[in-house]
Symmetry: C2
Subunit: 550 residues, 2 copies
């Protein structure tokens, strides 16, 4: 058995190690066109910020060590430039010598990764404008930063863009993020990104939404970034973080099928349209586990799993990839934002019916010092309650709750299961009713009809004359800190005595801070013959949808 | 509908609030014999240690507020002393006046809790010896501590005992924990408690295992604790944390069924043997979700869920309790220990077959500063791989992994599912192959036969002549820090070249630090015709089983 692997980072490295564990006798050759294998992609921003101090930390395994440990034939700076599928042969070019040669294979695994997009903006090739993909990029950016630069512009407010923003601020740099869309972190639903923008701004990052870079111009050693509104930003450094494109050239030239967005098509065995060729990682199109649609998700976790599964199948062992759930997490200063499964926008895109709820529980018992709110959104199927997706933002405990829900999604669990989940509780870790249970209670209550809910974006989109009566059931102290415009105020604890102040002929939308007292108020009103609903997620959710009004 | 609830803490309070949300018109009376309802039981140790500064923080809701918010008839210092089931009537005694009266019910929910055990040890009623259950206890202990005490003895090294130890140390007190068993934290398997004992000792807590208190004697203002080995400890304060007993007197007197350990028997609707009487919380016997055996688990999470479910059923809505998984967590200084589902000892107790694996992954990417090992044990069904239980100990990220596995257990998932789980990965939160995936890989590899494993306790229990050859495949530097006695040493990276040094006729047990290189070594040996297995969990697991030898 002779296995060739193209690309020695995440997926390729995993595939090589796995293949060797399955067979000591197979001939396994890894071609890597760059100078590094198996490096810490996700650590690059933190090295630039100084959080990871030593460059060596980013090198997970040297080519020599990889060779020795797994008895691999690792060929560095060696690029596979063509595949002859009928001959089961690849053409390899050695970068150092320019020499080309052929190598045959029984099975071939492609792990070429994805390359950062460089949009065709005038001036994009000026010195000081970078993308960030590998250690070479990081060295170049590091060198530029060493030259005393103190200003950075990041184009694109996705994961890498925001991680870089944090790290540039850590270096004391004046940092601006320019984003074409009307929100940061495009995989998230917009209202969930309000706290992210607030955190970035509070830490001194300038965030410009609905803006794009139109041109770059050299001004001495600096760069002037001209935006689409004709304003300009003077900066010393520009990083482009506007997305990636699958490195599919080799696959396309070989006639392998690719999807509409360029991802190499694979089946659930990571097999391409050629049965002897597998593909893994950022270059492939896989199936969205929740939506059952094709998807391209450039994440390290899936890449590693795919590498293992491709190696299994290449070596003759049946192994199935279940699809990608797109679980992802961002750390931004003290904030964590995480998501798993479908977003509201991805559900709307394919027209899949869904229900949603917002909850704002604390990460641990409120009576223990340091409790912090987690803002959570849960998406689920009407009727069955099957969980479709979740998003969370907060200071602590967010990744835990999203991981728990990721597991629930993997298992096909429902919101009724979340009600019954039994999770760790001690006051510094959780609550007797954990954040996950709370999301389950609210979602299940909605499905059971116990808790008719109305969504704040729906309410606010109505002309004022058509809106329900908005009833604020919080305390006077809370109301003083901001309320939904036009609301009347009766604290929940006075509600039973003051029902006479409310109309029976008009529907009432109750709200409190996070939805819990609003739920009780709704229950009281419904049982007393009023038409009532609870505004989902209360004032906290209002603030996320309408940050300017609150 | 007239609903009476006996007990207004966790389960009782949840039941009352739920019942009111279901019906605004029901008559709901809560009897609480103490002076407080709904207080933060789990916060009591942290108040004593000063971490929770204000006593008010422990009061989650005052009786007045509870009354008002939920329109309840809350009767404090009112003890239900008898139930007349045929007349649907309870007898109530008012503590303040001694007055007794009857109250009828349609449905009755019992939430009497459990009382701390006070073993009949001579001197147990001396001043300065306390149990810790409620705010009254905390006030008494607080007062004693205010008197300048500087030494404490805690009898019992369970959750409360160790939480108190941490908090007494926080107060600068010399603290000794005396435990009858040969391990701390009895719900955990013994080897998993090694790091817990090490942490306690490192923080200055004296831990005495296999010791019991035989007598208490007054020595001036101090107390002399005489142990079973006739040694004595002088102290100013003794806390008994040796377990709890269900408060079942009322139920027993009324002829309700109780289990062998005293828990009030309920069905999966939380209904007792009387269809109009429900019981919840620390006083009941429920079903172990994993083992399907009766169990008594005094934890806040289950109590709250049971309260809600009992209220549902009492109010005529069908609602099912799925059983208790016994997910629990301990914070001890910088250490977290958590578990969910069955332990090895509980599986052995009922004779249920199981497999186990140990893994020692880090909480997040090793290249990001601050990575800490999580020591994990996973228990699963032979053949199917269904997950039966998990335990974890480490400095960070332990509760997250145990919660994820708790969810997997709830869903009936297998170790093969853990391999495929897609969890949050950014370097400060996790790894591309998360700790949960690692546990899945090792367990699934064992079931598939890819990774024959041998257990270190089995190896060491054999006479030396019958043991396999123990092969240490770590680096020389690691070996210098300690190795398994009798092991020979060949680093994994030299193994392929040095196979000639190994016998073909004797089985070989490989090990490395955590099991990963041992796995590769085992794969190499097996494929070269050796009889080999990997020592499960490597040297780290050896250290946990044999702390004295390492």
């Amino acid at each position: 058995m002779k296995l060739l692997i193209v690309g020695g980072v995440a997926g390729g490295a995993s595939a090589a190690a796995r293949a060797r564990r399955l067979s000591e006798t197979a001939e396994i050759v890894v071609f890597e066109r760059g100078p590094d294998i198996s490096f810490a992609n996700c650590g690059l921003p933190y090295y630039l910020g100084g959080k990871i101090e030593h460059r060596e930390s980013l090198v997970l395994m040297t080519p020599g060590h990889f060779r020795e440990r797994f008895a691999l034939d690792v060929r560095m700076r060696s690029e596979v430039i063509a595949i002859d599928r009928s001959a089961h042969r690849v053409r390899v070019r050695e970068h150092a010598t320019g020499k080309e040669y052929d190598e045959t294979y029984d099975k071939l695994i492609l792990s070429p990764g994805a390359s950062p997009l460089r949009p065709p903006i005038p001036g994009i090739d000026l010195p000081g404008i970078f993308t960030l993909r590998d250690l070479g990029d990081v060295d170049r950016i590091h060198m530029r930063m060493g030259g005393g630069v103190r200003r950075a512009v990041i184009v694109g407010a996705g994961f890498i863009g925001l991680e870089l923003a944090e790290n540039f601020v850590r270096r004391g740099m004046e940092t601006t993020v320019v984003e074409l869309q009307d929100q940061v972190m495009p995989p998230f639903d917009k209202e969930m990104t309000t706290p992210i923008v607030a955190e970035a701004k509070a830490r001194g990052v300038q965030v410009l939404l609905n803006r794009s870079a139109k041109a770059f111009e050299a001004t001495g050693n600096a760069i002037s970034v001209r935006l689409d509104d004709e304003s300009s930003i003077e900066t010393d450094l520009v990083i482009l973080g506007v997305g990636v494109r699958p490195e599919n050239a080799l696959a396309v030239a070989a006639g392998l099928e690719v999807g509409p967005r360029g991802g190499i098509r694979v089946d659930d065995r990571m097999r391409t349209s050629d049965p002897d060729i597998f593909a893994v990682g950022d270059a492939v199109e896989t199936t969205d586990f929740v939506l059952d649609t094709p998807t391209q998700v450039p994440l390290g976790g899936p890449a590693n799993r795919q590498g293992r599964i491709a190696a299994d199948n290449a070596m003759g062992r049946d192994s199935v990839y279940r699809g990608t759930q797109a679980t992802a997490v961002l750390g931004l200063f003290d904030l964590t934002a995480a998501m798993t499964g479908a977003s509201e926008k991805s559900l709307r895109r394919i027209g899949k019916p869904f229900e949603r709820v917002y909850v704002h529980p604390t990460n641990h018992a409120g009576y223990y010092p340091g409790a912090e709110r987690i803002h959570m959104k849960l998406l689920f199927e009407p009727g069955t309650g099957r969980i479709l997706g979740a998003q969370g933002v907060g200071k602590a405990g967010v990744d835990k709750r999203i991981d728990v829900i990721a597991m629930a999604i993997q298992a096909g669990m429902t919101v009724f299961d979340l009600e019954e989940s039994e999770l760790c509780y001690a006051p510094q870790f959780g609550s007797a009713k954990d954040a996950v249970n709370m999301a389950g209670f609210v979602a299940a209550g909605k499905l059971r009809g116990d808790q008719p809910q109305i969504e704040i974006d729906t309410v606010m989109s109505l002309p004022e004359s058509e809106r329900p009566l908005i009833l604020d059931v919080r305390t006077a102290g809370e109301v003083a800190h901001g309320a939904i415009p036009g609301a009347i105020h009766i604290p929940v604890d006075e509600l039973r005595e003051r029902l006479g102040e409310l109309p029976k002929e008009r529907s009432i939308a109750c709200y409190c801070q996070i939805g819990q007292r609003g739920y009780l108020a709704t229950r009281i009103l419904l049982q007393r013959g009023f038409e009532a609903a609870n505004i989902d997620g209360g004032y906290e959710t209002f603030r996320h949808f309408f940050p300017a009004e609150s």
